[in-house]
């Protein structure tokens, strides 16, 4: 089992193929082992050659220890095309009662959730859809930590895997996001890293937020735009994952 603190602190230089291999060797669940083997992607592979999948989880809160997943959406894609036909969206049964506030955010009602399966029933589908692809998210802390927590509680073993975080890529493009004194005096606003704000900078359309599938699509589009503007199809995957 990998130490959580070390990957949270990890930069882009992590040796992900090795980490994945080690996890595969020690994993008990065939589901996890299968995923880890398929997702061991060489660090030098160029972006244009890497199968990608955008993932978004909607949760009842920010803390995996107290909150749980209510839905997830994912869209497989490449640098060239986002393939809606292969996208996946599921509402799942949260373990704890969601508070009213988060329901307003996700527009998922209690009755919808009541009819939804427990996450364990869709874990296999989810992992199979992710397997063999690099996961792209906007703000990695949510997706990776919640997935790890769910797997720990349901399978008794966790999972870490490389992700490309579009928010982190955006932060790299805007190292000084807060305007200085003069900038503030001139009325400059800090550069927002929220998904909608990032998209706007690339002339991407406004989508309604907080639907897991729409957010996944929005993230995939944002990543295509970021690569078009700041990277090349030959950029090795290792310089973007974390």
């Amino acid at each position: 089992m990998y130490d959580r603190r070390s990957w949270q602190a990890a930069g882009t230089s992590r040796d992900w193929p090795r980490i994945m291999q080690r996890q595969a060797e020690s994993a008990h669940s065939p589901l996890l082992r299968d995923f880890l083997e398929k997702s061991r992607i060489e660090a030098s592979r160029p972006l244009s050659d890497v199968p990608l999948v955008a993932l978004d989880l909607e949760t009842t809160g920010l803390d995996p220890a107290r909150h749980s997943i209510v839905s997830f959406g994912l869209v497989p894609f490449s640098l060239r095309r986002i393939v809606c036909r292969e996208s996946l969206y599921r509402v799942v049964q949260p373990r704890r009662e969601p508070d009213a506030e988060s329901i307003v955010i996700h527009h998922i009602t209690h009755s919808e959730m009541a009819e939804a399966p427990d996450i364990v029933e869709v874990l296999e589908t989810l992992l199979q859809a992710l397997a063999g692809r690099i996961v792209v998210v906007h703000y990695r802390a949510i997706e990776r930590r919640f997935l790890d927590a769910v797997l720990r509680s349901r399978l008794g073993e966790g999972l870490v895997f490389p992700v490309i975080d579009t928010m982190a890529l955006e932060a790299r493009r805007h190292p000084r996001r807060k305007p200085g004194v003069i900038g503030r005096w001139l009325g400059r606003k800090p550069v927002s890293l929220r998904l909608a704000a990032c998209r706007q900078r690339y002339n991407l359309p406004q989508y309604a937020a907080h639907h897991a599938l729409t957010d996944a699509l929005a993230t995939a589009e944002l990543f295509q735009a970021q690569v078009a503007h700041a990277y090349t199809p030959d950029t090795p995957i290792s310089s973007l994952w974390s």
Partner: protein
């Protein structure tokens, strides 16, 4: 997988042709979409590339180029590319490049073909070339006005009553009273079983009996032939009611004999049509003819605007609006001339008052200036007679200005000595213009060669129309020069690039639909019409003649007709909306106020104009044959 691509689905569903799709199709299409992002300057398709999907622009803008690198088209949000390739060779004919950062929804070829085969509305939309889409847009704008869709025979009163020209007026009055009719058709000799157009020599009306018999204290034994109105104007049974109405307005008659292949079958009555169309321009015209002062006429200006707005709201086509408004303008002129003659005394020599430009073409709208002139009998002696006509011309011109027809900035008005001439001088002038075209006379030609007689001896106007048509058609150098002039005002195709660029932003710009659209189109049509020797003045009638004479192919003529119709209708709607909002109407339109389809069609119409101007260049050359 049963997923909902909500954002994709909603956006597609708001744009043609997807807005026509049933829900289940829309779901399917949305789920099959593939998405791609292109940075400004990126190539989306190169010439000859295999086209595997239909491109739908979700945000941003792209440009399509011809092989020679010339810009072919610009597309923005909600517009499609690749469909022509998918329907033909499967290879891209026009390279496509991102003009801005652009997000494209791609719809795979397989789905495209399924849609094409199974959803008629979809096929209709993508199948048509740009110009055909325009035609449909123009056709769709003709709605349910019964005047436009009802034919004359719907209202015809059968068994027309006829009387011999040899009958006495007293007999005629008796017959009319017995039959309870206000007019009777007069035929030469004894009426037979069936009456043909050639048998009819006149019409006798109640007002003829009053004005020419009773008021003049004529004998009741007078033969009908001496008091009837001659020159029988007829309509065919399959003409539309509005056409009959326009004939009545123009010639100030209340009844029209209706013919079926040359045989008289009945009469159509103004009051029947009026009952059909209770608030038509007809009532405005009738009121105009009953007013006895300029103040009285001024009080009708509001009715004119109401009439215009109503026509537009009833989805009248541009021909109907244009001829109704020209009919009203003509009635104003006629009435002013009558009032002027009453004040100044009888005319010293026969004359004809000419309407020029849009009124002569029956293409008048609400924003217009007055272009007019006078033709005199050749007995005209300037020293003796001109003071009278100058006075009359001033009276009419000032009156028109008070009625909202602004003075002509170019001084093309009968108040200008140059434009008050006897018939022979007009012919000489027109000869000079045609034989030795100069920049100034070419401009005059484009105004004066649309002429119509409004009042007085209108035969002078017909004479001049034939004279111009006969002479211009034989003068290639003149046609070449006129054609060159007709290319001066180019359509604002570049505007649409700005429009795309500025989406969401403010638009300082607007398009003057008359100056950049209908005006140049009318210019193009005039050149062909003169070349074809057509004496028609209305642009649509001219197109019929041009096409019949083979000067344009049927499809080119149709394209021009549709483009002119579309621009004219958009212009009319724009003006009507301004009137309703209490603003002063103009010809400047902000494309942002148009619907997506209208904007697209407008662009198509401008493309038709650009092509027509190009063709003109190739067809007519100054100095050559």
């Amino acid at each position: 997988m049963e997923v909902e691509q909500l954002e994709i689905r909603d956006h597609l569903g708001r744009h043609p042709p997807f807005d026509q799709l049933p829900d289940e199709w829309l779901d399917r299409v949305a789920n099959e979409v593939e998405v791609g992002y292109f940075k400004a300057g990126d190539d989306l398709l190169a010439f000859g590339d295999e086209v595997r999907d239909l491109g739908y622009i979700r945000s941003g803008a792209v440009e399509m180029f011809r092989r020679d690198g010339e810009l072919y088209n610009r597309l923005g949000e909600g517009e499609l590319f690749g469909h022509m390739a998918l329907m033909t060779t499967g290879r891209a004919r026009f390279p496509v490049k991102a003009q801005e950062d652009t997000l494209v929804y791609f719809i795979p070829a397989a789905i495209f073909h399924e849609l094409f085969d199974q959803v008629e509305a979809f096929a209709d939309f993508v199948e048509v070339e740009d110009r055909t889409r325009l035609r449909q847009a123009a056709a769709a704008s003709v709605g349910g006005n019964p005047l436009l869709t009802t034919r004359v025979d719907h209202l015809v009163s059968l068994d027309p009553v006829v009387i011999s020209d040899k009958a006495r007026v007293q007999q005629a009055a008796e017959l009319m009273t017995r039959e309870n009719i206000s007019s009777v058709i007069v035929v030469a000799g004894e009426p037979g079983e069936s009456v043909t157009a050639g048998d009819m020599v006149g019409v006798l009306t109640d007002s003829d009996l009053r004005r020419r018999v009773v008021a003049e204290a004529m004998s009741f034994e007078t033969p009908v032939s001496e008091v009837m109105s001659t020159g029988v104007i007829t309509v065919e049974r399959d003409q539309f009611l509005f056409e009959a109405l326009m004939v009545m307005l123009k010639d100030k008659v209340h009844h029209l004999p209706v013919l079926d292949r040359g045989r008289l079958i009945g009469l159509v009555d103004l009051s029947d049509i009026a009952g059909h169309e209770s608030q038509s321009s007809l009532f405005v015209v009738r009121n105009i003819l009953y007013r006895n002062s300029i103040e009285g006429l001024e009080s009708l200006v509001g009715d004119v605007k109401d009439c215009f707005v109503r026509l537009v709201k009833e989805d009248a086509n541009s021909h109907m609006i244009g001829s109704a408004m020209a009919g009203i303008g003509r009635a104003f002129k006629q009435r002013l001339l009558e009032l002027g003659e009453e004040a100044l005394g009888p005319r010293p020599v026969p004359y004809c008052f000419l309407a020029l430009g849009s009124m002569a073409r029956d293409e008048q709208y609400i924003v217009t200036d007055q272009d007019n002139a006078m033709v005199f009998d050749d007995a005209f002696d300037p020293d003796k007679h001109d003071a009278y006509f100058l006075e009359l011309a001033r009276f009419v011109s000032d009156g028109l200005a008070r009625l909202g027809y602004t003075y002509c900035k170019g001084d093309v008005m009968a108040t200008n000595r140059q434009w008050r001439q006897p018939l022979s001088v007009w012919k000489q002038k027109f000869s000079d213009w045609i034989e030795r075209p100069q920049p100034e006379t070419l401009l005059h030609s484009s105004i004066f060669f649309d002429l119509d007689g409004v009042h007085g001896n209108t035969g002078f106007a017909s004479t001049l129309q034939s004279f111009i048509a006969g002479k211009a058609s034989q003068s290639p150098h003149f046609l070449g020069c006129l054609a060159r002039n007709a290319q001066n005002r180019t359509p604002p195709l570049g505007f649409f690039r700005d429009f795309v660029l500025e989406k969401g932003g403010r638009h300082e710009n607007s398009i003057n639909l008359k100056r950049r659209g209908s005006g140049p189109m009318v210019d193009v049509i005039r050149v062909h019409a003169l070349a074809a020797g057509s004496t028609a003045q209305n642009s649509f009638r001219r197109l019929d003649d041009i096409r019949a004479a083979g000067f344009l192919t049927a499809s080119m003529a149709d394209d021009l007709r549709d483009a002119l119709e579309f621009i004219s209708v958009v212009r009319a709607r724009h003006q009507a909306a301004a009137i309703e909002a209490g603003a002063s109407p103009n010809n400047n339109i902000d494309p942002e106020t148009l619907s997506n389809l209208e904007r697209r069609s407008l662009k198509d119409a401008f493309k038709v104009l650009a092509n027509a101007q190009k063709f003109l260049k190739f067809r007519y050359r100054p100095g050559g044959g």
